[in-house]
């Protein structure tokens, strides 16, 4: 690989909860590992390139989440890139967007279907606070901060990203996020890669594996 291409999607829409830092931590860790990298910001008006190595989606409010989804539905770029082996890390609203369905502004919406999950509108309290979790898939202890209303249910094609020991995670207080191949979703802000840079290293390893 000549250069690791980090694609930060719709930062102006999906940057409300600090998740844009994930791109900076990836580039920083890549440099440390001796890998040349570049961060490519794709705004709402631009098409998503298919030749990225790591794609990033962040957290957002409802209206911004719907706009980002609408923009990503213009073509199949993200899906194609993942089929070609790219890694996707999607946080909070971004996590919900890539599932089968989610709720925003009192409406059920069809997502991108990259993760076999469904997110229901939170009927009770909002899930806000620090999260402590362990990911057995990545063999990592994780900390983060969550701030979401939706509750996510995993389908049979996905595994939980992490087991939660403190916090709400997907809403049941047991698991957080979902993993399906190289697609990783989580509710953890922090940003998650700043709190656990070892996860950035593992994502880079996956993206650069032949």
């Amino acid at each position: 690989m000549s250069q690791l291409r980090i694609i930060r999607i719709h930062n102006e829409l999906l940057g409300t909860y600090g998740d844009q830092g994930n791109a900076e931590v990836l580039a920083f860790r890549a440099k440390h590992l001796g890998i040349d990298s570049t961060i490519i910001d794709i705004s709402y008006d631009q098409l998503i390139p298919r030749n990225g190595d790591i794609y990033l989606l962040g957290g957002a409010e409802n209206a911004a989440q719907l706009l980002s989804l609408e923009a990503m539905k213009r073509d199949n770029a993200l899906k194609d890139a993942i089929s070609d082996g790219a890694v996707l890390l999607a946080v909070c609203a971004g996590f919900q967007i890539i599932g089968n369905t989610f709720w925003a502004n009192e409406k059920k919406v069809d997502g991108l279907g990259l993760l076999d999950i469904e997110t229901n509108a939170g009927q009770t309290e909002r899930c806000v606070g620090d999260v402590v979790a362990h990911s057995s898939i990545f063999n990592l202890d994780l900390i983060g901060f969550e701030n979401h209303a939706g509750r996510t249910v995993l389908g049979s094609s996905t595994k939980p990203f992490a087991t939660v020991s403190s916090g709400y995670g997907n809403g049941d207080g047991k698991t957080d996020g979902a993993v399906q191949g190289n697609v990783i979703g989580t509710y953890m802000h922090g940003p998650i890669l700043a709190r656990t840079p070892a996860l950035a290293d593992l994502l880079i390893a996956r993206a650069t594996a032949q």
Binding site: Y17, G18, Y44, E61, N62, L67, R126, F145, A194
Partner: protein, 373 residues
Amino acid sequence: MRLRVSLSISRLAGFLSQKILRRSGETIQGKVLLTLYPNALATLSKNRTIVLVSGTNGKTSTTRGLAQLISQLGTTVTNKTGSNLDRGSATMLMQPSQYAVLEVDELYLPRLIAQTHPRAVLLLNLSRDQLHRMHEVQKVADRWRTAVATAPDTTFIGDTDDPFVAYALSAAKKSIRVSFGGRTHSDGAVCPSCGIYLRWTKTNFACACGLTNGNADENRAPGPAAYRNAELANIAGAALGAKPMTFDIKSFERAVEKTISGIPSSIRLVKNPASWSEALATVKGQNIILILNAREVDGIDTSWLWDVSFDALRGKKIIVCGERAHDIHYRLHVAGIENTQERSVASAFAHFAPTDHVEVLAAYTAFTQLVTP
């Protein structure tokens, strides 16, 4: 009769809090009063002209400036210590006066509008802050707009360059929309009114739904937040008949000059991406201390540090401390801005000599601790 008894008990509680706990007693009096007499705000606001000030940043200093202006017109009470929930307001209204100028927390503003029937409300700005409590900026703006729509007798004055303020003002029967131009908004990618992608031409926005900053009633030159807030205070004051004043803009920066551990320092409050960006733009010297805490009033999440560009600090001598020093240390480290992490505020100051001048940017709780005599 019941109000009078409630007032006496509340004053006693405040007195005891001051004498025994050595606190200001401002919050406790209002808290006791609202418990004993839930309708106190409405009752105490009668026969008094009320002016409210709200927004994410600049509330305390703007309220202070506006109270100075309004006191030309008659006796005025105001909450000086930034105690801006309903109880702080209740405490202030326990004193008799012709006018009250009250700083109000963003989430409490609708309640204060409904209960105090203000003559005027000044809306400064709205951006991401304490999201663990506010959750979403849009939801705060929606609540503001609903409150504005239900107060047809109130004049709403606001900075319409902020799309969230413009959205809230658009529901007002009486309003003064003020535009300074010259800036964008970091949370301004979506129209708060209709939810489509908000199109900006440099520093102006005009949405297909009609929301725009191009229809201001008053236009002013662009400038930093401290200047804008001073102008807004003057415009709000003038709406009530007060003569404009020439303010020292420094007094609107929430900056305090003080010698700490023998080191001459200027200490500035920073609490969210917008206020950090404003403060970083004013940094002049080479000696910097950054203090990060994450208690309830600071906002318990520190993810927003990654929304702030710290480039202005590159190459300076930077010491970071506070309960969440590691978060800001790593954020700067990743940006390639080298800094030293210290365990305590005292050990941060020990890096400097009495001949130095240090600029301190401090989270709310750290700021309060440093500037309180």
